[in-house]
């Protein structure tokens, strides 16, 4: 029977979709504290694609890999609740300030350590940057093909995978031998909800450093319930060149960040009374702006 080793790449992101007025501080910087941190939506779509392969081939193993601060372990738990088998948190101060290229490099080093995989699936892009770069860059670093904008995995066997892609002006069905990296589009199906049994089972799953922090008997936990421990890798756990990590490994630098100031116009303010709107429409028609 077929079974696949699947790696899902996921990112914890600030929920930039719900930016309220308090999201910006008085000095114009972003107030991250008020933005909830969520599982990047398209990465959840990616997890769903992986789960569908596992539905079909139950022996398959899904490993969720994320890079970020310690609290990014939250999304690994979210992944467990939905059906992921294993979770790895790639976390180290040395990763701070990574641009997409340095991020891709770090992720590719972690994937090389996982070593054995058939498919890598990730979201097309993350909502905090919208760059859509990390997927293709990881594929390039691993020297494997990429299939971007996947809407549906139509068929998979040990020899090849068939994927429907959603393009700007149409669709394309492509096939490719494994291993391959797939980025999943926002038009793909949403992820299934949490499974109640899995939620009970994994709600205490956490990383070693968190166990230590809370003063729990982490060794006992580790030995008794291996599923309750999230793997935590730093730079000492992966084979990497330090110059390619973090800020130093990032070719792009942020020169400056500005609050955008648009040229204010003298606006004409009117209320929604019939006569005012009638006058406005007349003015627009008379000046040939509309009509």
């Amino acid at each position: 029977m077929n079974a696949f080793k699947i790696i899902v790449l996921a990112k914890q992101v600030p929920d930039t979709r719900n930016v309220g007025k308090d999201a910006m501080k008085a000095d114009g910087t972003v107030n991250r504290a008020v933005l909830p941190a969520i599982f990047n939506p398209e990465d959840l779509h990616a997890l769903e694609q992986a789960l569908r392969i596992k539905d079909q081939f139950p022996e398959s193993i899904i490993t969720l890999l994320t890079m970020g601060p310690v609290r990014a372990a939250e999304i690994l738990r979210e992944g467990f609740y939905r059906g992921a088998d294993d979770g790895i948190l790639l976390t180290d101060r040395a990763f701070a300030g990574s641009d997409t290229l340095a991020t891709s490099y770090s992720l590719s080093c972690a994937i090389k350590k996982i070593k054995d995989f058939d498919i890598i699936i990730c979201g097309r892009q993350a909502i905090d940057g919208d760059t859509a770069q990390v997927g293709p860059q990881v594929a390039e670093k691993l020297h494997i093909p990429q299939i971007t904008y996947c809407e549906e995995i139509q068929a998979i066997d040990k020899k090849k995978i068939t994927v429907k892609r959603r393009l700007e002006r149409g669709v394309e069905v492509v096939e490719c031998a494994l291993p391959v990296l797939i980025t999943v589009n926002n038009s793909a199906p949403h992820c299934r909800p949490r499974n109640a049994k899995r939620l009970m089972k994994f709600k205490h799953a956490t990383t070693m450093s968190k166990h230590q922090e809370t003063g729990g008997d982490y060794l006992a936990t580790e030995n008794a319930n291996t599923h309750l421990s999230i793997k935590e890798w730093g730079i000492s756990n992966i084979d990497c060149e330090h110059v390619q990590l973090g800020l130093a490994g990032s070719p792009t630098k942020v020169k400056k960040v500005d609050n955008i100031v648009f040229q204010s116009k003298e606006s004409k303010r009117i209320d929604d009374f019939d006569e005012d709107i009638s006058l406005l429409m007349k003015e627009l028609i008379d000046s040939h702006i509309i009509g």
Binding site: V30, D130, A132, Q137, Q146, I260, S267, D271, D274
Partner: protein, 339 residues
Amino acid sequence: MNNVSVYCELEEGKIADVSFELLSKGRTLANQLNCKLEAYLFGHKLDGFEKELAPYGVDILYKADDAHLSPYTTLPHTSVMVGLFKENKPQVALMGATTIGRDLGPRVSSALGSGLTADCTELEIGEHEEKKEKKIYNNLLYQIRPAFGGNIIATIINPDCRPQMATVREGVMKKVIYDLKHKCEVVNVDAKKYFDETDFAVKIIERHIEESKINIKNSPVIVSGGFGVGSKENFQLLHRLANLLGGEVGATRAAVDAGFVEHERQVGQTGVTVRPKVYIACGISGQIQHLAGMQESSIIISINNDANAPINKIANYVINGKVENVVPKMIKYFKENSK
């Protein structure tokens, strides 16, 4: 060497608009940098395209004509582009932020170890001082883009790596003829030299490309709605006003994400940039990433029941009221007054 380069994308046998727009921007940058403008065109049956490209100020066209390059697949295009970039060493490389550009750009940037900035809304030339090392960089490409969900605007630079790569959405830059008699040198590239046998791993087995039915970019009037419009049904009201005024319906990202309208209608940094005669913003508060895509509209009318909505600052007319009350009145009084 050290020129400005533009990847010219083919869309069903035609050069994409965004490529012409980037050539126009590229020409300006090349003049500022005192270097040449290079165009890269990869596909099959490419005779005669130089005549179309030259007027946009292209000095050198690298043309790779091979059956394996059409239709587009990632790896063969990557191999040719990476190979040529290693030889030609452009200082700037621009491509459209299209499904193709966003597939190819990161792959190429990773292979070259070069920085890539996605969805730039402005490109400028400037300098940079690295204070720690007391090093001054001249003639860097400032890649300017809204960041963090469009709440701030960031200027990104690539001080040390070349090429400095950037993608730009369609409609952001203006397409301008540079010189109808501009001389363009054509270099025919032997694509096979760059292919690796593993480049043909992905096979296209089916392809349906439809002419896009929705094109808001060139519409003189746009009636645009935000998440606050509330539903697909409520958007019908906007459609009615747009039809009446001979325009199209646009939307914010939130309205598109909520499924109220098609993705093709999204206005903003990650959607389409528009410059209509009239932009009617219905219940749009005005996130920067949206404003970046419509601020150059000639007349902006904002309908909002929040008097302090940021969009009101750039509006010519602000109608204080609810969309569902105001829009029917606009329809009614347009009909009455235009008789």
